[in-house]
């Protein structure tokens, strides 16, 4: 009676060995391959929060669609917000290859059992915020996302390639918007500086806590899900952004920001991690508003879903 259990152990060891060999060879894991349960759960968590972030990320900028200053800006912003919806859908699609269910993930988001990026809990106070989100927030997202194109899980990596192609447009339209405003009136220039002052530190927080406070990073690295450490990516972002700020003519709000001649990299001041903790735990300026709107989108539009289903059943 014990034989089947023994066989299962042997099988599992063989499957684990094959999985490890695939990862070690730098090959991709595909949906129907055997994978350790921890790998699957880690991926579902990560892909789901990523998808939620894209969907919630439509809101701060979407607030400006009806107030865009020109038809050109409106068309650009509409395309960008539509892209965010698309990115969310690519990612839910990748999560579903792991056995997750999109409707269930959405419910978990609305019940606040799964989270989205803290950055979207800040308000967009002026049109300059639209530009700064494109430049800094999408710039930081690109730093995070480019390495994910080589993630060990095939469907996730393929979704990220698609996302990264489109993200470049997001960053460039933001920077161009800011350049236009910096060429405008002193009031417009002040709006840009104010937006930079508000978004700079939250953008640095997007990379997560310092490496010595990320205990599970090592496992994700070993699995090829994560490719670079939080601090490494944060430093890369700062080094990329400082020269861009100089061209734009804005000041980044950090008196300690300085070039380290020896390394060629920029040193920056301490980050207030208590703020990140506050915002993530639900105390940010817009947490309630974001979730309430997502809930309303699900509930108020349920009749559309039901009508389309009824139509499909009638014509089946």
């Amino acid at each position: 009676m014990t034989a089947p259990a023994l066989d299962r152990t042997l099988d599992e060891a063989a499957l684990q060995a094959r999985f490890d060999a695939t990862i070690a060879a730098g090959h991709r894991i595909e949906p129907r391959d055997w994978m350790p349960e921890g790998y699957r759960k880690t991926l579902v968590r990560q892909i789901a929060q990523h998808a939620h972030s894209e969907i919630i990320g439509m809101q701060p900028e979407g607030d400006w669609l009806l107030a865009a200053p020109s038809l050109r800006r409106k068309a650009v912003l509409l395309a960008k917000v539509q892209d965010e919806a698309g990115h969310g859908l690519y990612l839910y699609s990748a999560a579903e290859t792991l056995g997750a269910d999109r409707a269930d993930l959405t419910d978990k988001l609305i019940e606040r059992r799964q989270k989205y990026s803290s950055i979207f809990n800040y308000p967009t106070l002026t049109y300059a915020d639209v530009g700064v989100i494109g430049w800094l927030v999408d710039g930081a997202a690109i730093c995070n996302q480019v390495p994910l194109c080589r993630s060990s899980y095939g469907p996730y990596a393929r979704a990220m390639i698609r996302v990264c192609k489109e993200e470049s447009f997001h960053q460039r339209q933001g920077y161009e918007l800011l350049m236009t405003m910096m060429g405008g009136t002193p009031e417009q220039q002040a709006m840009v500086q104010d937006a930079v002052d508000r978004w700079w530190w939250p953008s640095l927080m997007m990379f997560g806590p310092p490496d010595d406070e990320s205990p599970n990073s090592a496992q994700s690295m070993a699995w090829g899900i994560k490719r670079h450490s939080n601090d490494e990516l944060r430093q890369r972002f700062v080094d990329m952004t400082v020269p861009q700020a100089a061209v734009l003519g804005v000041t980044l709000p950090d008196p300690e920001l300085a070039l380290d001649e020896a390394t060629g990299r920029y040193r920056f001041g301490p980050i207030d991690w208590s703020e990140l903790q506050r915002v993530i735990s639900g105390q940010g300026p817009c947490n309630d508003e974001r979730i309430a709107r997502r809930r309303a989108a699900r509930d108020d539009n349920a009749w559309v879903t039901e009508a389309a289903t009824a139509y499909a059943e009638k014509h089946a």
Binding site: R45, Q46, S53, V137, L148, G208
Partner: protein, 121 residues
Amino acid sequence: MTELTAEGGHGAVPTGPEVPVADRPAVSRRDWPLYEVFVRGKRGLNHVHVGSLHAPDDEMAVHAARDVYTRRNEGVSIWVVQAADITASSPDEKDPMFAPSGDKVYRHPTFYEIPDDVPHI
């Protein structure tokens, strides 16, 4: 500090074991059927799998695929098929299914030695 990861795009989100991932029956009505989407990038190329989406019926699936997967001239033709209708080889069958072609090197042109001075072969 709870476990946060920046990986996953816009970053700095709790991803520790306290975040639930197991399926439960959704509060909202269950989703529409899952469709797999294939796009022909341009004339002369095959349709290639690009991802999936949910739609109530075939026609809506084509419309949704257009919006989700071809916003930038990525395609000139779209196929959709319900995921449930696809029959696939099993990854567990990998060895018995594909191994026989491994030892049939004579199916490749390089198996045959032809003198260098024979033209056009």
